[in-house]
Amino acid sequence: MSAALAFDLLLAAGLLWSAWQSLSSARLDRAILLFITFGLLLTLAWARLSAPDIGLAEAAIGAGLTGALLLDAYRALKQGSDAQVNR
């Protein structure tokens, strides 16, 4: 088994694992971080498929901007529920 094949298998396993963990995680913050991890692994997968253009777009939009949006939404949700508890 060559090193490239081992890396690809590891990458595929990591993709499936992070996707499943992100969907099944009970904690929202953990799910969001795993979603970002999934995006970054997907970037590597696109690079391995020699499609660096899509990899760049995935890293910037998929992992970066979407991740930031989700984290911001999480913060807003948390602030909202904190305010309700305090009321």
């Binding site: 253009d53 760049l56 939009i61 901007l65 930031a68 949006l69 911001d72």
Partner: protein, 218 residues
């Protein structure tokens, strides 16, 4: 019992889906030789950019229109409230953001320029630009945007308008977005430049128009 049946059905569906993917015939038309053969006339040296902005330019034109529409929809539904200055982040984070943003601007410019002959281009450059704006906002250096003023509106629409203007001008010559080979490189660079600016503002707008940091505001 019901749970097992559902899991079994899902497993069978996954297997069928997987076997269908493996069964796919190779693409009946191989477009790669055609792309390579006309690369000379496309005005750029990178096949992906040639496809996106020359051979299938109208796809990209409509894509930008869709993004602009999405932002219009957001602007239409958000409440018209004042945004206060966001809470500043820790000084270390702020300093880091101040150091990173100029580098990100350089990276965006490089990606825009590199699009002509290697992976890169307007979308990637625009998203780096947007990420810089989001970073500034998250560290408290840039307030969330209220309803956009005239300058911001022009900035948001610039990419689409420039693209549309080029398309309309070329339509007069006969065909939609068929660049004359001598001008193709320059036209594509102009379009990509405007697109980068607009996409950066559009993508950042998805973040900054929705952001409601009311701390410190009445």
């Amino acid at each position: 019992m019901k749970k097992i049946a559902i899991q079994l059905a899902a497993l069978v569906f996954a297997l069928v889906l997987g076997s269908a993917m493996l069964d796919l015939d190779p693409a009946p038309v191989d477009l790669r030789p055609a792309v390579a053969a006309h690369l000379e006339a496309s005005g750029v040296a990178h096949p992906v950019t040639a496809v996106l902005l020359n051979y299938r330019g109208y796809d990209t034109l409509l894509e930008v229109a869709v993004l602009l529409l999405a932002l219009f929809a957001i602007l239409a539904v958000i409440p018209d409230s004042q945004t206060g200055r966001p809470t500043p982040a820790a000084p270390v984070l702020q300093t880091l953001a101040r150091l990173a943003v100029p580098l990100m601007l350089v990276t965006a410019t490089f990606l825009l320029w590199a699009g002509a002959f290697r992976p890169g281009g307007a979308f990637q450059a625009g998203s780096v630009l947007a990420a810089a704006l989001v970073l500034l906002h998250l560290t408290g250096l840039l307030a969330g945007w209220p309803q956009p003023g005239a300058r911001l509106r022009w900035g948001l629409a610039a990419g689409f308008l420039v693209f549309l203007a080029v398309a309309a001008a070329l339509l007069l010559q006969g065909h939609l977005l068929q660049y004359p080979p001598a001008w193709a490189g320059l036209l594509i660079l102009c379009i990509e430049f405007a697109l980068t600016l607009s996409l950066g503002l559009l993508l950042a707008g998805l973040f900054l128009f929705l952001s409601r940091d009311t701390e410190g505001a009445p």
